[in-house]
C-alpha cells in the first residue's frame, strides 16, 4: 500500500534532530514510523506521519528542507521471519529495495514495514497477490 513519507535533511551535528521532532509534536503530528540514515556529515530523517501536509508545512515554515516521497507500507505479522517473508517476495520477483525500515505496531501482533523500491507499482501488485495489500491508509497510522 502506497503511503507518503517525509524525508528531512539533517546536518550531522549535535542538537539538530530534536527541534524537528518537537516542532512536529507541538503541531499535533503523530509519527508512526521513523528512520535516520546518516553519514559523518549529514543524515536523512524519514518519517511516516498521520498528517503529511501539516507536517510538511510546519517544517518548511521552519526552514527545514523536506521532501515528500512515496513509499510502500506493508503490515506484517510480528513474529520471527515476518520481515524476511516480505523481503523474499520482493527479491523473488526482482524488485530492488532501495531502503527499508520497520517498527513494531501499536496493535498486538502486527508490525509495519516501510519499503522504498525501484518499481513501486509492480511491488504493490506482487505484495497484494501475496496477501499483504489489504490495509487502508488510515489504518496504517493505527497499526
Amino acid at each position: 500500500m502506497k503511503v507518503k513519507q517525509l524525508s528531512v535533511f539533517i546536518e550531522n551535528r549535535k542538537g539538530n534532530l530534536a527541534p524537528v521532532l518537537s516542532h512536529l509534536s507541538r503541531g499535533g503530528v503523530d509519527i508512526s514510523a521513523l528512520s535516520l540514515a546518516d553519514t559523518s556529515d549529514f543524515g536523512v530523517l524519514r518519517l511516516i506521519v498521520d498528517k503529511v501536509e501539516l507536517a510538511q508545512k510546519i517544517l518548511s515554515e521552519d526552514g527545514v528542507i523536506v521532501k515528500v516521497t512515496e513509499v510502500l507500507a506493508v503490515v506484517m505479522n510480528d513474529h520471527p521471519g515476518g520481515a524476511a517473508e516480505v523481503v523474499n517476495i520482493l527479491a523473488d520477483n526482482h524488485v530492488e529495495i532501495e531502503y527499508m525500515y520497520a517498527c513494531a505496531g501499536k496493535t498486538l501482533g502486527k508490525a509495519l514495514m516501510i519499503v522504498r523500491v525501484d518499481d513501486p507499482a509492480k511491488a504493490e501488485e506482487i505484495l497484494c497477490a501475496n496477501g499483504f495489500g489489504d490495509t487502508k491508509a488510515n489504518e496504517i497510522y493505527r497499526i
Partner: protein, 434 residues
C-alpha cells in the same frame, strides 16, 4: 652589497622619470595601435596617444582590469603578432576561464633581468646554487625564477614543487645556497628538515619567497628552521610574474623596477591617485613589455609606496607588503581563489537559477591552508537517499578541484545556518593570521 645594474638601479629620480616619460609615450602609442580593448577605452574617454606626454598624464588614462583578460581570452590583449610571442603562461581568473599572458623574446630577457637583479639584491651571484621549488608550467613562478637564476649566472636546480623528501635530499646533496618557493612551503620544508635533524647539513643563505601572503612571524620561523635570510618578493602574472618587486638586503620594502613598471596608488572607490605614502590600491603600467603590455592595471592589492632613496643605494621606489585586497580574492595554498568561481560551480551543480548559499572557511593548520566550503542544503540539492546527496557533494568537490586546481572539503549544512549580516551571507571567513 652588490648591484647588478647600478646605472639603472641607482638612477636619480629625475632621470628615472625622464626615462619613464619617453617609454610611456611609446607604450601608449603601441597599445593604441595594436590592442583593441585599450583603443576603445581611449576613444570612449576622448583621448588619443597625442594627449600623453609623460608620467604626469598617466592619471588621465583608462584603467585595465583582470576581467579584460577574460573578455579577450586567450590572446586578444597581445600587442604583437603571435609570431613574435615565444611563450605563454596562464593562471586562474575570477571565473572558470583562465587568464593568459604572452612574452616576446625581449620580454623574457627583461623578465630574467628583473629576477636576476632581485637575486643580486639579496646577495646572490654566479657562485650560488639556487633551488627553484615553485611550480614549473603554466604558473609563472617556476620558469620565472629559473630564467632569472640563469641570467644571473648562478646554478639553477629546476626542482618544481612537491616531493618534499627529494627536495630536501637535493638541497643537502647539491649544496643549494638559495631557495625559491612559497613561504608556506618553505616553512613546511623547514619543519621536515628539523624533524630529520638535517639543518646543520644545509648551506642555504637566502630564500626568496612569494606568491602568497605571509606574516613577520612566519618569516622568523622560516629563518630559524632553514638557517637563511628570508626575502619577500612581489609579482603577478598579468604584469610579469615573479620579479616585479623584491626586497633588498635592507629589507625595508620591495623595490619596484621602475625602468619597466610604473606603480600608482589609487583610492579603489573614487579611483583618484593618492598622495605619496598613502595606502590604497596598487596600479601598474608596464612601459617596456611588448607581447602583453598593460596600462594602469588594477592589481586589487592594497599597499603604499615609499620614494625615499634606500640605504642599499637603490633609488627605485619601494612598495610595502600588500596588507589586503580591494576585491574578494583569496590566496589559498598559493592559488588565487575568487568566490565567483565557487558560485559558478555551485550554480552548475544545483542546475537551477539560484546559487545555493555558501561560505568559504580558510585557516592554516600545520602551515598548510585548510579550505572548507559549507553549502546550505536546498530543495534542488536535496534527495531522499544518501547516495544522491553524497553524489551532489562529490560533484561540488570535483567541480571545485577542476575550477581551482586545489581541493576543498565540502560540507552540506542546514539551511539558514550560514551567518548573515543585513540579509547578506558572509561569504568568506579567513582565520589565517598574517
Amino acid at each position: 652589497m652588490s648591484i647588478r645594474n647600478p646605472e639603472i638601479e641607482c638612477m636619480p629620480r629625475e632621470q628615472i622619470v625622464a626615462m619613464q616619460n619617453e617609454r610611456l609615450v611609446a607604450q601608449v602609442k603601441r597599445c593604441y595601435e595594436n590592442v583593441e580593448c585599450f583603443r576603445k577605452r581611449m576613444d570612449e574617454a576622448g583621448l588619443t596617444p597625442d594627449d600623453v606626454h609623460g608620467v604626469e598624464d598617466l592619471s588621465k588614462l583608462p584603467f585595465s582590469y583582470k576581467s579584460d583578460l577574460r573578455d579577450y581570452y586567450p590572446f586578444g590583449l597581445f600587442a604583437t603578432p603571435m609570431s613574435e610571442i615565444v611563450r605563454v603562461h596562464a593562471s586562474s581568473g575570477t571565473t572558470g576561464k583562465r587568464i593568459v599572458v604572452g612574452y616576446t623574446k625581449n620580454d623574457l630577457a627583461m623578465w630574467a633581468d628583473c629576477v636576476a637583479r632581485m637575486m643580486e639584491a639579496v646577495g646572490l651571484d654566479e657562485r650560488d646554487i639556487v633551488q627553484v621549488s615553485y611550480g614549473y608550467g603554466l604558473f609563472t613562478g617556476g620558469l620565472g625564477a629559473h630564467g632569472g637564476t640563469e641570467a644571473l649566472g648562478a646554478t639553477v636546480i629546476p626542482m618544481s614543487s612537491g616531493n618534499t623528501s627529494l627536495q630536501i635530499q637535493t638541497m643537502v646533496d647539491f649544496g643549494a645556497t638559495a631557495l625559491c618557493c612559497t613561504p608556506s612551503y618553505a616553512l613546511y620544508l623547514g619543519e621536515e628538515i628539523e624533524r630529520l635533524g638535517l639543518k646543520d647539513q644545509l648551506k642555504l643563505k637566502a630564500g626568496i619567497f612569494g606568491a602568497e601572503p605571509w606574516s613577520e612571524d612566519m618569516r622568523l620561523q622560516i629563518q630559524e628552521k632553514l638557517g637563511l635570510k628570508a626575502y619577500d618578493i612581489y609579482g603577478l602574472s598579468e604584469i610579469l610574474g615573479p620579479g616585479v618587486a623584491c626586497e633588498c638586503e635592507c629589507q625595508a620594502g620591495m623595490h619596484v623596477w621602475e625602468d619597466h613598471f610604473i606603480p600608482e596608488i589609487i583610492d579603489p572607490d573614487t579611483c583618484e591617485v593618492l598622495p605619496e605614502g598613502e595606502s590604497g590600491e596598487l596600479v601598474f603600467t608596464t612601459i617596456t613589455k611588448e607581447g602583453f603590455p598593460l596600462i594602469r592595471y588594477r592589481t586589487r592589492d592594497i599597499c603604499s609606496l615609499n620614494y625615499e632613496k634606500c640605504a642599499c643605494g637603490r633609488t627605485h621606489v619601494r612598495m610595502r607588503k600588500p596588507s589586503g585586497r580591494s576585491d574578494d580574492m583569496l590566496i589559498i595554498r598559493g592559488v588565487n581563489v575568487f568566490p565567483s568561481q565557487i558560485e559558478e560551480v555551485l550554480l552548475r551543480v544545483s542546475g537551477g537559477d539560484i546559487t545555493p548559499n555558501y561560505q568559504i572557511v580558510v585557516d592554516r593548520v600545520n602551515n598548510t591552508d585548510t579550505f572548507d566550503v559549507n553549502v546550505e542544503m536546498s530543495e534542488t540539492l536535496f534527495a531522499d537517499d544518501i547516495r544522491s546527496i553524497e553524489a551532489v557533494e562529490k560533484r561540488i568537490t570535483s567541480g571545485l578541484r577542476d575550477m581551482l586546481g586545489i581541493s576543498a572539503k565540502v560540507h552540506l549544512v542546514n539551511p539558514k545556518t550560514i551567518a548573515r549580516s543585513e540579509g547578506k551571507a558572509k561569504r568568506v571567513i579567513d582565520n589565517r593570521k598574517y
